[in-house]
């Protein structure tokens, strides 16, 4: 049985490689500075680096969906917004 039923495409493979790399980076980061860097951010709750990654990824998904639903393609603008959003989350949340 091959993998043809999974219908892989390069863009989706790249997406999963990106997510896997994010998780791997988190692992390396955790190894270099253990503890997850917990702190109280602007949401008023304690977050670790893993929480911040989750909030960034989930929020980015909604930024893309909102843009796609309201403005349509191309998706460069939401990509820029998502990157800024991710940086803000890692800096302040």
């Amino acid at each position: 049985m091959g993998l043809s039923w999974m219908a892989w495409t390069w863009p989706t493979a790249a997406f999963f490689i990106f997510v896997a790399l994010c998780i791997l980076t988190m692992g390396v980061w955790e190894y270099l500075s253990p503890g997850g860097g917990p702190r109280h951010g602007i949401l008023g709750l304690e977050t670790t680096r893993g929480d911040r990654l989750f909030i960034s990824l989930l929020g980015s998904a909604f930024i893309f969906l909102a843009w796609l639903g309201l403005m349509g393609t191309p998706l460069w603008a939401p990509l820029a917004i998502a990157i800024v959003y991710g940086i803000v989350v890692f800096r302040f949340v």
């Binding site: 043809s4 039923w5 989706t12 999963f16 949401l43 969906l65 639903g69 393609t73």
Partner: protein, 287 residues
Amino acid sequence: MNKIENQKAWFFVLPVLALVAFNAIIPLMTVVNYSVQETFGDNTFFWAGVMWFEQVLTSERFHASLGRQMIFTFSILAIEIPLGVLIALTMPRKGPWVPVCLVLMALPLLIPWNVVGAMWNIFALPDIGLLGRTLNAIGFDYNFTRQPGDAWFTMILMDVWHWTSLVVLLAYAGLVSIPDAYYQAAKIDGAKPLAIFRYIQLPKMKRVLTIAILLRFMDSFMIYTEPFVLTGGGPGNSTTLLSIDLVKIALGQFDLGPAAAMSLIYFLIILAMSWVFYTVMMRNEAN
């Protein structure tokens, strides 16, 4: 004392990881792959980009079923949570009636979802069902197979009947964990029943109630079997909730691309809302 470095435990996690990969991660990846392609069967796929996502996000049909889903979920939460707390408060906390009440409350939870749907379908039929005939006999023009309002009434009543018990049992567990000393102190202070509820019982139930809300939210947001067996999504599309619509697109029309895109949007909504509930819960806990 030196801490012994031993990472062997990780190997014991491997079977779980393999299982989760097999039944959740790989299928989810496949859904992501399907969501950007078009297929006409025969395992042949054509690249479609984000077309399906755009189509789903701008489709009236998706907005309508999402709207119905929200109305359904928030209606049953608004009824089941207060009702569950009220029933739990009236249940005895000591004596021979405790097991009787608990068994009665647990009964609806033991019935399989499709059986609940079938039961309520027959129960509510206007010509032969007990509920349907009774309502018509006392002068209501009730027919859940023809009137959307009646279909909604029956669907919500069915969910309340099936799942309020869960809230009752959770709230009851919270209530029995309150030591008698709290009530004695309240009695000495001359607290009224309302004050006891507000300052003793409710704070002690907060944790279990958050779990109850989270569970009922997730379950009702993903509900399929009961409303499908009861109404089949009708009359018209009036009770077509998100999951029913999704199955219609995926299996009825065999539009795998749009169905995959819709599944992912659906999944993200559930993930985000569950995260919000969880965060609020943790925040209250910290305070």
